[in-house]
């Protein structure tokens, strides 16, 4: 066995340029697919992170049944120390209590129906960057009596900062909730659905309004590493009251999961094209090499070399070339991917403006999951290996005489 290996090794070094050519085609294939995968999954990460931080958070603590009913009747009382416990829980970076319901917003003779959210102004801003959206007036603080109202809604009701509107709703346990409130600030949202509807109150104010002292409908949680969401979910849910549940963003935002799946399905096609191109590239190189070596193979066979042994030697060569190419590709792609993972690519121009208007950082993230490296490397390695088996096919059909006569081993 050692001799076969030695034989293959010498064959490879006999024509360095040929070996280098084959190896580099595999090297670039690995580099390309790894980078493409890193960008693609990076985009998925961006979609998820943006959607999650603008709306639900990675996880939410809710009363059992709240998510299906969305009613104040399914709100829960925040017991002393619960927020502190959650905030100091490993991996949790932020815990954002909210009380959400709907109310009629009335000014003059106009009345609209709006989602009303009671927020802890400081925490909400850290999570969603709400303060940046103020276009007129000022943001809330804990003791604010005023409300924030979305721009589109303000326009429809012909409102501006300082005007008083009436909020009318049904509070906790059917109590009538009606109050006159002054507008503290006007918010602009790029999403029309939000821009035409949203109303925010400070959490204490909202709790008084809804007759729901100390109650919230959810506590949204952010974690430091999105990949650890499920782990945090299972360990934290054991610490919660049995009446409460912890649900993750995938359950709350199925449309985001679908968007990510759609993106992945689209890139699967791109990957497919990539793999075909790579396969033909490698195959072309190997075929050229084989044709070049027909005379050599013919000579060896006429000298009495068993075809089986020749198979073994050429297979070993193929494995070596593929392995070296794949490992080199991997070795180069790792630092490149990690560099861009830590220094995300900044987008510029109109696209950047579009990102910013949605409250997103204008960056393209690069995913650096270990699985991405080995899966792409293994796929390309296998493709290369299959393409490199072409010589076996040639050797089997080879007729030494015609090969030696330089007729490509054909009859």
């Amino acid at each position: 066995m050692k001799y076969y290996f030695l034989f293959s090794w010498r064959n490879l070094w006999r024509n360095k340029r040929r070996t280098l050519l084959a190896t580099s085609s595999i090297f670039f294939a690995v580099l390309l697919t790894v980078l493409f995968a890193a960008l693609n999954y990076g985009q998925d990460d961006d979609t998820m992170r943006m959607s999650v931080s603008l709306s639900t958070g990675y996880l939410q603590i809710q009363e059992k049944g709240y998510w299906d009913e969305r009613s104040l009747e399914k709100s829960f009382e925040v017991r002393d120390g619960v927020l502190g416990m959650v905030r100091s829980f490993p991996r949790i970076t932020l815990a954002n209590p909210r009380i959400e319901s709907v109310a009629l917003v009335s000014y003059g003779t106009e009345t609209r129906i709006s989602p009303v959210i009671g927020i802890d102004p400081e925490t909400e801003n850290r999570m969603t960057g709400l303060k940046k959206r103020i276009v007129k007036g000022s943001y809330l603080n804990d003791s604010s009596q005023g409300i924030l109202i979305a721009e589109g809604l303000a326009d429809r009701l012909h409102l501006s900062v300082g005007d008083s509107i009436v909020l009318f709703s049904q509070g906790y346990q059917g109590a009538t909730a009606a109050e006159q409130l002054a507008i503290a600030g006007i918010l602009h949202f790029p999403v029309p659905k939000m821009n035409d509807a949203m109303v925010y109150l400070s959490l204490p104010k909202a709790q008084t309004f809804f007759n729901a002292n100390r109650r919230v409908t959810s506590i949204a949680l952010m974690v430091d590493d999105p990949r650890k969401v499920h782990a945090v979910q299972s360990s934290l849910s054991q610490k919660l009251d049995p009446d409460l549940v912890l649900i993750n963003w995938e359950e709350m935002l199925p449309e985001v999961v679908q968007a990510i799946q759609a993106n992945d399905a689209g890139s699967l096609l791109t990957f497919g094209v990539f793999y075909v191109v790579i396969a033909f590239g490698v195959f072309g190189t190997i075929m050229m090499m084989t044709i070049e070596r027909t005379r050599e193979f013919g000579l060896l066979i006429s000298l009495g070399m068993k075809r089986g042994r020749l198979f073994l030697v050429t297979t070993l060569e193929a494995v070596l070339i593929s392995m070296v190419g794949a490992i080199a590709g991997l070795a180069v792609s790792i630092p490149v991917v990690f560099y861009f993972h830590h220094h995300p690519i900044h987008i510029w121009g109109d696209l950047a403006k579009a990102y910013e208007s949605y409250g997103m950082e204008p960056i393209m993230s690069v995913n650096a999951d270990a699985s991405l490296f080995y899966s792409q490397t293994i796929i390309v390695f296998i493709i290369a290996l299959i393409a490199s088996l072409y010589p076996l096919f040639v050797i089997r059909k080879l007729r030494p005489v015609s090969a030696l006569q330089g007729r490509n081993g054909k009859k």
């Binding site: 009747e73 129906i113 009436v166 009318f168 059917g174 109590a175 009538t176 009606a178 109050e179 006159q180």
Partner: protein
């Protein structure tokens, strides 16, 4: 031959008797409706809302001219005292004393619960008439709550804009009181039951003084009404049910 004739005869008889029954069923319903229809009433009612985790009692005074006009003034609990709901044809208005404002309930809120009860705003104003929008058939007679009752099935006419797939109602033979109503959806599933009981003489009219609504899709929920006082022929006209009057009544 004889068999054939007999079959034919039976068929004719069945169709005919159905026709007669249908007439009867409609008349019975009409009589039940007429107990309240067009009457100018004043009432004092206590509503109890029961939910799995809590219950709440709301007391109110109500003026109405069935079926188009009513005005409800909340007297209890203290937090809601003075709130007024006005129903005028298919519109619902609210007077909010704490902010001195009248709000018309927009269409998008019509399916929201009224005062936290199992009734929606839409239930208050639904215009469908159980006499005109349904085909009626008398299913037979049945004893219910100690009364001999007609059991009538109502199936909506195709052109009627009705949310129910079917209604079955029990009306007493004497006095035409509606003691039970079962509401089924299009799939034939029982969605809610209305029950009437404890008949009392109110101003010369015998009517159930206690009624409850049980929504079957929400286990543990119930809304009941107890009529404490009911006067007929009070001195009101449709003009009484005005937006301006909401803030004046006591």
């Amino acid at each position: 031959m004889i068999m054939k004739t007999l079959t034919l005869l039976t068929t004719i008889l069945t169709v005919f008797s159905n026709f007669v029954y249908a007439q009867n069923a409609k008349e019975i319903l009409q009589k039940a409706i007429d107990l309240m229809y067009g009457k100018k009433t004043y009432s004092v009612i206590t509503m109890t809302i029961t939910k799995p985790a809590w219950s709440r009692t709301v007391s109110m005074k109500a003026w109405s001219i069935e079926p188009d006009y009513s005005i409800v003034y909340i007297t209890e609990p203290a937090r809601d005292k003075g709130s007024v709901t006005l129903k005028r044809k298919n519109e619902v208005w609210n007077w909010l004393p704490s902010v001195q404002k009248t709000i018309k309930i927009p269409p998008s809120m019509m399916l929201a619960a009224w005062m936290g009860s199992d009734f929606t705003n839409d239930d208050l104003v639904r215009q469908s008439s159980i006499v005109n929008d349904y085909r009626h058939s008398l299913l037979g007679k049945e004893s219910f709550g100690g009364y001999e009752c007609y059991k009538i099935e109502l199936v909506p006419k195709p052109e009627a804009g009705v949310v129910w797939g079917k209604i079955i109602t029990w009306i007493t033979e004497k006095g035409y009181m509606q003691l039970k109503e079962e509401f089924y959806d299009e799939d034939g599933v029982l969605v809610r039951t209305m029950l009437g009981s404890k008949p009392k003489m109110f101003d010369g009219h015998l009517l159930p003084s206690y009624s409850e609504m049980i929504p079957h899709d929400k286990p543990g929920n119930k809304t009941s009404f107890e009529t404490k006082e009911l006067d007929f022929d009070v001195n009101i006209s449709p003009e009484f049910f005005s937006i301006q009057n909401m803030s004046r009544i006591r």
